[in-house]
């Protein structure tokens, strides 16, 4: 029998707890609600959140048993408000609102672990006990996914990587909605198929962004680039680190989510780490250029765009583009950026055959 599904929105949602409670976590994607964008929250809120609430009001998520919202930024905070306020008109209940610290240190990890313990207890009150064994088993499944994505990343470090950004975007999208064991099998099979395969030439691109439009990878690769890293909320930021069991499963989950490659929502030393991480990834993946995609009205992404353009040298050319979730990305800007990178790469390597 198919499991009931609980929706989630942000890469800071501890989805292991949802699955351990007997549900299939279902990631509300960037493309799920944009055709009926909400006006309820006003136009100063990012289009992802507006589309999520719009989708909820229009019945797009009626197949869900509930949703979990995280307090990850000022827009997500209003998604909770809107959902809560219009709950009578929305089928899936908002079952929990998780407050997520914005710094990573021992104090915030301990505090977050307490909040997750409370979330776990809430799930248990609703759906029955979550045993430690079941939670650990679930974490192992999710760790396997992360391990497998790390293997995909290894393939992408090669010259002419055999894996395209379009393929990875599709896999990530599936990982957010498919049953976990089934997805892990699929991902494993994909890796086996790709190992030793020939790959795609072209400037190596990192996409940096939030819940970015999946068409971006297609545009980049259609213009001659190859996406080798998705530093995005609906990219590898959601899959980058494993949960460590040493300190107990709930604390391990808390640490993993706060410590992972940060979204621009994070502050202090971990935000600095996020910037350094861009440079590190540029080196490791020999990235030629970064496409920075900022959703309009995401203050964190927009502010960070100013920082990386004016204060922090990422070491390679960077193109900043802004758009709404549902609006078309300006292909000319991408093509021109990739074309320039092609010239640059060709200049570095000599004429290509």
């Amino acid at each position: 029998m198919e499991k009931k599904r609980i929706g989630w929105f942000c890469s800071y949602t501890p989805i292991e707890l949802i699955e351990a409670a007997g549900f299939a976590p279902y990631g509300i994607r960037e493309d799920s609600g944009y055709s009926h964008e909400d006006v309820y929250l006003g136009d100063s809120i990012c289009s992802y959140v507006r589309s999520c609430l719009g989708g909820a009001l229009a019945g797009s998520y009626d197949f869900l048993a509930g949703v979990v919202i995280t307090h990850s930024c000022e827009c997500m905070r209003r998604l909770y408000d809107g959902w809560h306020f219009k709950q009578e008109d929305i089928a899936p209940e908002c079952i929990y609102f998780v407050d997520v610290p914005r710094v990573y240190n021992e104090g915030s990890t301990a505090y977050f672990a307490k909040q997750l313990q409370r979330f776990k207890e809430n799930l248990e009150q609703r759906y029955g006990l979550i045993s430690e064994e079941r939670l650990i088993e679930t974490i192992k499944k999710y760790n396997l996914t992360r391990d497998l994505f790390n293997r995909v990343l290894e393939l992408r470090k090669q010259d002419n990587p055999p894996v395209s950004g379009v393929e990875v975007a599709r896999l990530i999208s599936e990982s957010m909605t498919m049953e976990r064991d089934e997805f892990n099998h699929k991902l494993e099979a994909f890796i086996v198929e790709k190992e030793g395969a020939s790959g795609n030439p072209g400037p190596r691109i990192m996409i940096f962004g939030g819940p970015t439009d999946a068409s971006l990878a297609k545009l980049i690769e259609g213009s001659g680039g190859v996406v080798v890293y998705e530093n995005m909320c609906n990219g590898l930021r959601y899959n980058d680190m494993l949960v460590d069991f040493d300190e107990g499963p709930v604390s391990g989950i808390a640490r993993r989510y706060l410590r992972k490659n940060p979204c621009p929502r994070m502050l202090g030393t971990h935000a600095d780490h996020g910037l350094e991480e861009i440079r590190r990834l540029v080196d490791i993946f020999r990235i030629d250029g970064i496409v920075y995609h900022s959703i309009k009205f995401c203050a964190n992404l927009q502010f960070m765009a100013g920082i990386v353009k004016s204060e922090f040298n990422v070491g390679v050319p960077m193109k900043i583009i802004e758009s709404d979730i549902g609006s078309e990305i300006d292909g000319r800007e991408i093509r021109s950026f990739i074309k320039n990178l092609c010239h640059k790469v060709a200049g570095k390597e000599g004429p290509r055959k």
Binding site: Y40, L41, G42, D43, S44, I45, H71, C73, E74, C75, R77, R78, Y80, D81, G82, H84, F85, F97, D99, P101, R102, V103, G107, S108, Y111, K114, R118, P264, R265, L267, G268, A271, D272, S294, K296, F297, A299, N300, Q302, F303, M304, A305, G306, I307, K309, S310, E311, F312, I320, E322
Partner: protein
Amino acid sequence: MAENTEQRKVQFKNFLALLGIGEEAGDDYIKSRFSGPADGLKASQKRGRLLAEQFIRCYNKTKDCSEKYQFVAWRSLFMPTEIMYAMDVMPFTTEMVAAQLAIMGCQIDRIETAEENHFSQDLCSFIRTAVGSVIEDIFPMPDILITSTHLCDPSAKFGGYASMKYKRPEFVLDVPYGLYGGVYEEDVKRIEEGVDYLSQQYKDLVRFITENTGVEFHEEKLKQVIEWSNQARKWLKMGNEFAYYTGTPTIKGSKDIDYASNLMQTWGTEEIVDVYRARYEEFVRSAESGVPVPDKPRIHWYHLKPYYKNNLLSYIEEHVRIVSSMVNYMYWDEMDPEDPFRSLARKTLMIPAYCPVSVRAEVAKKWMIEGDGIIAFYPKSCRHFHSSARIEAEIFKKANFPYLAIDGDCIDNRGDDFAIMQTRVDRFIKSMRKIK
């Protein structure tokens, strides 16, 4: 310190250049500003004098224009200031200075500087002004930066940017969300966890300040600061309640919003006690003077106001009385000087504005007199407040509080359209009169 001293001299010159004056004229202005005694001034004048002195101290200037080094902490708008005063560190609130630049008509160039440097037009205009001021090197060099995660994202991100720009250390106070108003056992447990978490961070803040300035912490001093903060709180609350429930012809809401006490950097100074006491006494004196309170619809003001030159507030006040405001609402309990860190943590946590919209609206509903109206002035660049308008409108409609949300901007007047706002205000006032 030597580097900061030299740089602040340059930055002060840069600031004066905005006003079109040189150092000599600047010194003359400072001397004249502080030549007389503070006694006998009106409450708002006392407040202005205090803020002006704090401002020049951040550039190492004293009231008599001599030079004296001052440790300066750039502080985000909602970061409590008591620990800073207990450690002789002067807070410098960039958003407040952004408002001042708008009053002076100097904001747009700063905003455009920020935008030219890839800071999006969608970002909060207070913060764009601050970013532009950093790029133009107008603000005084910080020794440290102290940022809290509440209420809004751009303010929190700005601290990290300025820290990087000036290569000065930043402390981030991580404030849990949504704890105000909790009454159930489970809520109380959450609140206490939040208090534990925050009070530990305040202790870490003390260590951070000592490590980066060398200033030693003395708990006795913090207790004194907490005492002053409590006294100021008492007078502010008495003034608010008197103005709202008893009524006084003195209060001019558009000016009273300027106290913006919730976000002000003066909590913990001895002077602010005197300011709020003077405000209360002015209200009482004028109520006793026999001058009638004008018979106009009464308004509670939400959020801030346009700081650039504009006619909106004076137009509104021709027709209604602004008798209270969100930014002056006293929401926290008296603190316990014997338990300063936990008290401060509780004060920081229990803020209705950093809660779901429904909680915030409940607070207003509880103490407002039914039939009084609400005008919310929400900048579109403020996601936190602007996005609340529709939910608030529905909540207040059910509670019989007429509600008007005006789209505007506090700082950036490039899209200002008074005619549109006027139409909306006219319609609202008409409906208010019907109710009255």
